[in-house]
Structure formats: structure tokens, C-alpha cells
Symmetry: C2
Subunit: 235 residues, 2 copies
């Protein structure tokens, strides 16, 4: 026995530590905002010491910016993997909406972080050259898809890609980001599975109807054998 191996009090893992801190911080900032976030809670959740957080990332605001930049990196990475170029224009737009919807659903912290940053009037984003250089590929994707759609006759109008991008994001973002207050106002759960399906149908229908000019063909379309209540025609 003797002096062979001492039980380690802790092990080194700078990279893992940093990742754990960032992950914990993301949750904390998303759940409580910048001012409401607590450095101690972040440290605790990351199984770290509060000092570690200053050591590896910097102060609270640096940490927040790092989280924000990470969030943008993540969505940009997923966006880049979406290939819409080879699809028929209406199908491409549908996919785009579905992706946006799905991404927001899978990453609610992203919505919260954006809201937090907008409350701060993008004060931190403005300082981040990193984020400024990360352009979304969607604007150009939309531009080419819309042009193709107009050329092929699928679409009857050449809409501004930036406006359409913002509209699609907005249709999904507002519903999800504000689902808590909207659910109270309307007295029903907007996040139930049925409600989510219904919302996706509505968004796709709205945008495609506007682009193609064939409302009825698209809008009324019932989806899978899902229980589809007559939400449309209520006397």
C-alpha cells in the first residue's frame, strides 16, 4: 500500500469544465435573463466553483456574450445543413418553415436569449464581431428559391427575401416565445401536441397561399388522419 496512489480530490478537465459552465450559463440566462441570472447558480449547476467561471470565461457579461455567440453558432450550423436548392419551390418553403418551427421548439433557450438580448437593445451583440460575421444562409436560399418559383410559375410574386425570412421567423417565434401569456389570454394550452400541429399547418398554409396565390388548395388541406377539429368553420 504505502504511497502508491493517492485518491484525487479533483481532476483536471479545462475543456469539459468550460463546456459545462457554458451549458449551465445558457440555462440560467435563458430562464432568468441577464439581470436575473445568478453566478452562484451557474457555478453550482456546472458542478464547478464560482471562481472557475471567472477563470475560464470572464465576468458575468463575458459569460453571457459567450453563451449568446454559442447560440448563434449553433443555429447557423444547423441552418447550413439544410439543403433547399434541389426542391420544388413550394416544398422548399415548406421545409424552411418546418425547420424554423422545429428548431425553435427544440431550442427554447434560444428564444429566451434573443428576447433578453433585445431587452438590452443588442448592446452585447453589437460588440461581437464574431456574430456579425455569421450570416444566415437562409436569406440567399430564399432569394434563389423565390426567383426559381417565380420563373417556374409556382409563385406569383417576387417577395423580398429578408421580409419573408423575418415573417417566417416571426410567425413561429412569437407563438412560441409568447406561448405562456397567450395561453393565459386564450385560456387554452398552446403547447399541446394538437395545438402545435395546428399552428404549423396554419403557418405553412398562410405563407404558401400568399406566395402561390392558391389559398384554398393549400389552406383547407387536412393533414394526416389526425383528429382534426373543425377549427376553421365555427359559426
Amino acid at each position: 500500500m504505502a504511497k502508491t496512489k493517492k485518491t484525487l480530490k479533483w481532476q483536471r478537465d479545462p475543456e469539459g469544465m468550460r463546456l459545462r459552465i457554458l451549458a449551465a450559463a445558457k440555462q440560467e440566462f435563458a430562464n432568468h435573463g441577464l439581470a436575473g441570472a445568478r453566478v452562484d447558480r451557474i457555478a453550482a449547476k456546472a458542478d464547478a466553483n464560482k471562481r472557475m467561471l471567472y477563470y475560464h470565461v470572464g465576468n458575468k457579461e463575458d459569460l453571457y456574450l459567450a453563451v449568446l455567440e454559442g447560440a448563434y453558432e449553433k443555429i447557423r450550423a444547423e441552418e447550413r445543413e439544410l439543403d433547399l436548392e434541389h426542391l420544388a419551390p413550394p416544398e422548399a418553403i415548406r421545409r424552411l418553415i418546418e425547420f424554423t418551427w422545429s428548431y425553435f421548439l427544440r431550442n427554447p433557450e434560444f428564444l429566451a436569449l434573443l428576447n433578453t438580448e433585445n431587452l438590452a437593445r443588442a448592446k452585447h451583440l453589437k460588440r461581437s464581431t464574431k456574430v456579425k460575421s455569421m450570416h444566415s444562409p437562409f436569406v440567399e436560399m430564399i432569394r434563389t428559391v423565390v426567383n426559381r418559383g417565380v420563373a417556374s410559375g409556382d409563385f406569383s410574386v417576387a417577395v423580398d427575401p429578408v421580409q419573408l425570412y423575418i415573417s417566417i421567423a416571426g410567425l413561429a417565434f412569437f407563438y412560441l416565445s409568447n406561448s405562456a401569456t397567450l395561453s393565459v389570454i386564450f385560456g387554452r394550452d398552446l403547447l399541446s401536441e394538437d395545438a402545435k400541429d395546428e399552428r404549423l399547418d396554419h403557418m405553412v398554409g398562410l405563407v404558401l397561399a400568399a406566395l402561390t396565390g392558391k389559398s384554398s388548395a393549400i389552406f383547407g388541406r387536412s393533414r394526416s388522419p389526425k383528429r382534426r377539429v373543425a377549427v376553421a368553420q365555427t359559426a
Copy 2:
């Protein structure tokens, strides 16, 4: 000397005081969120004492809820004044969008408060029976207008009023609420007069095109004549 003029150190004004506190609190909560808001700043801005705020309204959270309820009351009141029943369906929808846009533009604090409350997962709203009882008249307005539009042939699809309401709000809300980050991302000022005009045109075009099924007739509309919406003409 004697009792010449009794110089008052302060005058009583309970109602005014309360209103000033609420107005100051609205600004503070809108600018900094719930956790970021400072009770001292509210008191100072209201030309009041911090103690007054507890005396007249209650603690920080009570104050916040009071502000939130006031914000809902205000928008509901303006919504009620909007009469769309006598308009042709497409014109009614256009007016609805213009009102929503204009209201959000004129009341940026409302957007910020909603975001703040959603960050708190509507924790306070849920407790407010007052807000729960303040239903927006828009849902029913939309229902009748859409039904009329379908009957008259103006609209080709009977869309769910709640979905349409959320979509219209979302198109405007997301653009304005997130204008700070979006402006950074796109590298242009989304709040310039031109940008705002363009956005309103886009929103109206998108929704009306979807409802009427006549994209080209509506979307491409010239926007050269700077005819800014009457309702947005406040400034």
C-alpha cells in the same frame, strides 16, 4: 417674519403620485426587465420616495403586476375603439394590421413587458383574474370579418381567427421586438422610416394575398407614394 407665507414642503396628491409611480415603473420594467428594474430608480423617476411606492402599490412584484395589468387595459381599450364591422373584409383586415403595427410602434414598452412576462412564464399573469377577464375583441371581430369575406367571395378560405390573430400580431411583434438584434444581423436599420413602411406593406400584402388568393394584385403594389398610414401618423 412670523407666519408670512406657509411654504409647503410637499403637497398631497395620492392619485397623481400613484400614477407617476406606475408610469415610472412601466418605463423601468420595460427597459430593464423585472429582475433588472431598480426600485430606487422608479422612485426617483416618479419624483417620489421609495417608501411611497410600497405605501401606494405594494412590493416590487405587486408593482410589476399593476404595470402589466395597466398595459393590457390600455391596449384592450384601444382595440375596442376599432370598428371593422362595416368595412369590406379585405379593408377590415388591412386596418387590423395597420392598427396592430401602429400600436406596437407607439407603445414599445408593451412589447418589452410581454417579453418580460413570458420570460417569467406568465407567472404573474396567471394570478391576475383581472387580465384573464379582459378578452380581446379582435378574435370575434376577425371571426365575423372572415366569415363575411368567405360569404362575399373576397376570401377564399375560412382561416381560424385565433391563428390569424396570432399571426398578425407575430408578424409585427417579432419585427419590432427583435429589431435591435435583427438590425445588427442584417447590418441595416430596421426602424428607419423607409424600413417601417416597407415592413407594413409586406405584412398587409402577405396576409391579404393568403386570404384572397390574389397575390400579384396586392403584393407588388407600388409603395412610392409615401402615404403613410393614417393611424401611424401620431409622431
